[in-house]
């Protein structure tokens, strides 16, 4: 777009090729020159495009530069997600680029691990060689014992796919702490890779279910996108029912606040199902046509099926009762399947899945749920009827000339899925929307931006449960037939492999953009397990706590001064993509990750050849057999890689992004937004009201000798039981929950003083009346003791009381984000709640994911007990 400043250009050319030392020497001298005549020249100002480095939705930004020095980031106009605006984090990141507390050069540890690190600076070559040797040593034995662990990843193709394939390592993500419970539930129920969000713009009645609306993401996005759409809908009359122990999340935008007790979402969802059925709000056509509700289920709990076709294309097809013929027929052939009733097919009696569901939720009355959730029964019936009314069952509307069912009701839920009963809770919540046929309707329920059916949908039809030995993630184990890949469980396994029938543990870890010690629940478990690695390399711009304690080598990644992507820029209505472009040269001796992985691949010796890194990049970016494929030659320039990708997309090249900032592909057609009108409808998935494979899995687990705690929730219908933590002794009278602040991003921004200045330090939110009872006043130091109902272990932290009328009296809440000690600005801000959360049995979900609730007692610091 705008000409590059003379100085930046000189620097650019200087850096090219030369080793970093050399280039720094070079551009420093060049700089002196520039500096000298800078007096003569007026400052050179220009603007370049880039994307937010902090956030999850990669908002587009323009960087205002003075002589190549960035002085401000502003939102990129026309970007579907943030259209010219930025959140506080987007604004504040400017100061972190220039932070001299960044890791400036590669570092090699000089002291023992497990304590705060001491380091010596190393050249890139030396550091990379150390890492390469470790990796190769273990690869020789078994590549899968090299663990590539990530948190966020901004070039999935090039990092997650290409690099791990090239070195053959195992992968581990942070999803089990994020919202993967919900992903599994939705993949299982609808076949979609996402959690729950309404089609917000047309939505009129929203259950904001643990949606931290004014602070955080909701399904998939970082922030900005949903609030904008919410306001648009609200101006058209959207009503928001805020189901959350805290009011702060939806704040002024909560039309009704339902302060339910934490981890009782399953009970509430089940009684909403009860009420919808009782009040007759049912979309029968949807249920019969697109779900397994009409399938005939035998007394054994199995679906009556018939094999059709021969040989390879032989498949099992479920039977339904066809009212037209009065016989049991293949679901694929029946013209008028019965939704309810009991029928006899060849001498056996069967009930429809829906019939069973009705009976299942019969006892889940509002009165029943009221006690469990700690809310009024009348509120539950009221919400059910308003939800049912607003669903306008049967209504349709025309969007872009296409007639689509119109059900302007839905649920927004994301990270709240991380609770012990999360998987079934999210299934039940989905069912609430299924009953009224809101799934895939205009203004109705969505979980993803597309209806592409995720591979797990098929995989979950037949869950495998093997005998030990298991790999260290317990994949296909008797513990977690559905397995997210849970760092918390891995931490447990690494401390006691035998207990879980694991023989081989990972030996080398490469940590990419992840900080388990701080960001993951149950800090003590990570403090233990990371000692077990023979070698840990951390790739990060800052010394993360995990690096501080456990890294042998730290490789300084750039923050925003790097090429990354491609990244989606879609807001669900407009399709667009962006690349992160460096607004200036990497500061200090940092390098972009793509550079780092190319260097690593080179040192490991997997850059070239078939299945080499270059080859894998071609595959991952879809460049194979295109004129733009990277030649299997010397290490490519990062800019060139993205230039080729851009060209392969039919663009002029990376200059398209340099000039326009973004590639807007156009409007997303209703035929890919609304499940009812995709081809085939809902991507061809039959929505699973009845979870037969869960029941089968449970039986297998029992056969293989899994304990009840593992199999108890593998049930075809979501079934309430009280969470394990509730059996903690009564003096642990409070539920501790956690959440995000709009000013911070996970554990990685408290080192940005501009943000902490806005957010304040760590605190624990306590209901005013509760505090009064405990003699605690605002600003007092309080001790928080947590209790593990299974092991009896207790943990403790101290923080500061923040009194509010916006939280349940039996709940206390702490923002996450804090607890960092490895940066002068983030030190002394207070602890992370992850110090007192637990993981493992009783404090994780059935699909191997974290729970973020625990029972605690609180007392004024210094006071007794």
């Amino acid at each position: 777009m705008v000409p590059v400043s003379r100085r930046a250009f000189l620097k650019g050319t200087a850096v090219v090729g030369g080793t970093l030392a050399a280039s720094r020497f070079l551009f420093e001298t060049l700089d002196a020159v520039a500096g000298a005549d800078a007096l003569a020249l007026a400052p050179f100002e220009d603007r370049v495009f880039t994307t937010c480095w902090i956030g999850k939705q990669d908002c587009g930004m323009t960087a205002r530069r003075i002589d190549g020095r960035v002085v401000k980031f502003e939102g990129m106009a026309g970007h579907p997600r943030n259209d010219g605006t930025l959140c506080p984090k987007g604004q504040a990141q400017i100061i972190s680029i220039y932070d001299p507390n960044r890791v400036k050069t590669p570092l090699i540890r000089t002291n023992a691990k497990g304590v705060s690190g001491e380091w010596r600076q190393a050249s890139w070559d030396e550091a990379l060689q150390v890492v390469a040797d470790e990796v190769n040593r273990v690869r020789a034995e078994d590549p899968s014992l090299v663990l590539w662990q990530k948190g966020r990843s901004k070039s999935e193709a090039i990092y997650d796919n290409a690099f791990t394939k090239a070195i053959g390592s195992s992968k581990l993500g942070h999803g089990a702490y994020c919202s993967d419970t919900g992903y599994r539930a939705l993949e299982y129920t609808l076949g979609l890779h996402g959690v729950l969000n309404p089609e917000l713009v047309h939505n009129r009645y929203l259950l904001a279910w643990g949606w931290n609306l004014t602070n955080a993401g909701g399904n998939k996005y970082c922030w900005i996108v949903w609030p904008r759409q919410m306001l648009e809908a609200r101006e058209k009359g959207l009503k928001i029912v805020h189901i959350d122990p805290r009011l702060r999340a939806a704040g002024p935008f909560a039309d009704q606040w339902v302060p339910l007790r934490p981890s009782t979402d399953l009970a509430l969802a089940l009684s909403l199902c009860h009420e919808l059925i009782a009040q007759g709000y049912l979309d029968r056509p949807y249920l019969t046509k697109y779900t397994n509700a009409p399938y005939l289920v035998g007394k054994d709990g199995l679906i009556l099926k018939q094999t059709v076709g021969e040989g390879d294309d032989a498949e099992e097809v479920a039977l339904v009762w066809d009212l037209a013929t009065g016989t049991g027929r293949l679901a694929t052939e029946a013209t008028e399947p019965a939704l309810e009733g009991e029928y006899t097919v060849n001498g056996q009696t069967y009930k429809t899945a829906f019939e069973l569901f009705k009976t299942h939720v019969e006892d889940y009355t509002p009165e029943w749920a009221a006690d469990i959730c700690g809310i009024e029964a009348t509120v539950i019936s009221q919400i059910a009827s308003e939800f049912g009314e607003n669903a306008q069952i049967g209504a349709t509307t025309v969007i872009d000339g296409i007639e689509v069912p119109y059900r302007p009701v839905g649920i927004m839920a994301y990270h709240m899925a991380q609770q012990e009963l999360g998987f079934q809770a999210l299934r039940a919540m989905t069912m609430v929307t299924m009953l009224v046929g809101a799934v895939g309707a205009v203004g109705g329920q969505l979980a993803d931006t597309t209806w592409k059916i995720h591979k797990n949908y098929a995989a979950f039809e037949e869950l495998t449960v093997n005998d030990p030995p298991y790999d260290f993630t317990l994949k296909g184990s008797r513990y977690f037939p559905i397995n997210t890949g849970f760092p918390g469980m891995v931490a447990k396994v690494m401390q006691d492999p035998a207990r879980y029938g694991v023989e081989k543990l990972p030996k080398v870890a490469i940590l990419h953009h992840v900080n388990p010690v701080l960001a993951f629940t149950s800090q003590p478990d990570f403090l233990e397990s990371y000692k077990k690695f023979e070698h840990v390399t951390v790739i990060s711009p800052w010394m993360s706590e995990t690096a501080d304690l456990f890294a042998d080598v730290v490789l300084p990644a750039s923050t925003i001064e790097k090429f990354e992507g491609p990244l989606s820029a879609s807001d669900g209505y407009i399709d667009a993509q962006v690349l992160r472009l460096p607004p200036m040269d990497p500061l200090f001796e940092s390098r972009g990750e793509v550079d780092i992985y190319l260097d690593l691949a080179e040192h490991i010796g997997v850059l070239n050849g078939a299945d080499g890194y270059i080859d894998q990049i071609n595959v991952a970016l879809g460049l194979v057999d295109t004129p733009f494929a990277l030649p299997d030659g010397p290490r490519p320039e990062v800019r060139d890689i993205f230039d080729r990708w851009a060209k392969s997309q039919g663009l002029s090249g990376i200059d398209h992004f340099e000039q326009n900032g973004i590639w807007v592909k156009g409007l997303i057609p209703p035929t890919s937004t609304y499940g009812y009108v995709t081809d085939p409808p809902f991507g061809g998935a039959v929505h699973r009201l009845y979870g037969e494979s869960l029941l089968k899995a449970q039986r297998l687990m029992q056969e293989k000798g899994a304990e009840e705690i593992y199999y108890q929730d593998y049930l075809p219908f979501p079934t309430w039981r009280s969470p394990t933590m509730d059996s903690s002794p009564p003096e642990y009278e409070f539920y501790l929950i956690s959440y995000k602040l709009v000013e911070h991003k996970q554990s990685r921004t408290t080192l940005i003083p501009l943000l902490t200045e806005l957010s304040g330090k760590q605190r624990i939110e306590i209901n005013t009346a509760t505090a009064r009872r405990l003699g605690i006043s605002d600003g007092d130091e309080v001790v928080v003791d947590s209790h593990n109902a299974i092991t009896g272990e207790t943990r403790s932290l101290t923080t500061v009381a923040a009194l509010t009328e916006g939280i349940r009296p039996d709940v206390v809440g702490m923002p996450h984000h804090f607890g960092s000690w490895s940066h002068p600005a983030s030190r002394d801000l207070g602890p992370t709640p992850n110090e007192v959360f637990f993981t493992g049995e009783g404090y994780m979900g059935q699909t191997a994911d974290a729970s973020f609730q625990v029972k605690v007692k609180i007392s004024k610091a210094g006071g007794d007990s």
Binding site: P88, L247, R248, L587, E757, G760
Partner: protein, 248 residues
């Protein structure tokens, strides 16, 4: 004749404080200085709790107490409605500050350079020199070295001199270039609007046309140039929650 007005749409404000941050970066204000502040307020008792957000820039009063009391005319009102401070003339008596009912004035208590220390980001780090030339802060905005307006006075940006008063300038340096104030520009949900109220066709005029609106502390007769749409003036029962780190 131009007269600039800012409108705050309380039906949209998310209380995110992006405006605060944008202001701090655009105007290079050091720690604990909030030319823009966003109150997060709570009223009532559980479970009948109400929450609200209230952004608070300088109100650029048309009948500004701060201007009246300034003994040397360093605080002055411009034709276009902006109330500015002449950093070259201010003697630091802080009379404007006690006279202002809105608590928007910030005095340079410290030496400008020391004022950044709380951030613990040493901008003078030698390794930054090649890129920043050692300016403080590293993202220093050169616009603030310029004089502004027909009156050609030093009125934009922060931390110029120790012992001098400052406050929100309505981003005079941006407005002069035809840009929106930094806070307005960044607001993720368009809760802030800015423009010339005298111009019938301007977005702000259209936005405010036949809308209910109020000014803060209307009863004092200061006649602010900042008008609030939606919501209600904060009552005396409002409790502020989630305060920023505001100490020096």
């Amino acid at each position: 004749m131009t007269r600039y007005v800012m409108a705050v749409d309380l039906n949209r404000c998310q209380g995110c404080r992006a405006c605060v941050e944008a202001c701090k970066i655009e105007n290079n204000t050091p720690s604990a200085v909030f030319w823009m502040h966003v109150f997060r307020l709570e009223e009532g008792e559980y479970p009948d709790t109400k929450m609200s957000f209230l952004p608070r820039p300088c109100q650029h009063c048309n009948n500004a107490p701060c201007v009246k009391v300034c003994p040397v005319g360093a605080r002055y009102k411009r034709e276009d409605g902006l109330v500015l401070t002449d950093f070259d003339r201010c003697i630091g008596c802080r009379y404007c500050e006690v006279a202002c009912p809105y608590g928007v004035n910030f005095f340079n208590w410290r030496n400008p350079d020391e004022a950044w220390d709380e951030y613990q980001v040493p901008f003078d780090d030698p390794d930054l020199m090649p890129v920043t030339g050692g300016v403080i802060p590293s993202y220093k905005n050169p616009d603030h070295d310029r004089l502004h307006g027909p009156e050609q006075r030093l009125t934009s940006g922060s931390a110029h001199f120790k012992g001098v008063m400052e406050k929100c300038t309505f981003c005079v340096h941006r407005v002069e270039q035809g840009l929106l104030p930094a806070c307005v520009d960044t607001c993720p949900v368009g809760a802030l609007k800015f423009g010339d109220i005298e111009d019938e066709g301007s977005p702000i005029s259209t936005f405010l046309r036949n809308k209910e609106s109020f000014q803060l502390l209307e009863e004092l007769g200061t006649d602010p140039s900042v008008v609030y749409v939606g919501g209600t003036p904060p009552t005396s029962h409002a409790r502020e929650i989630e305060r920023p780190l505001t100490g020096v």
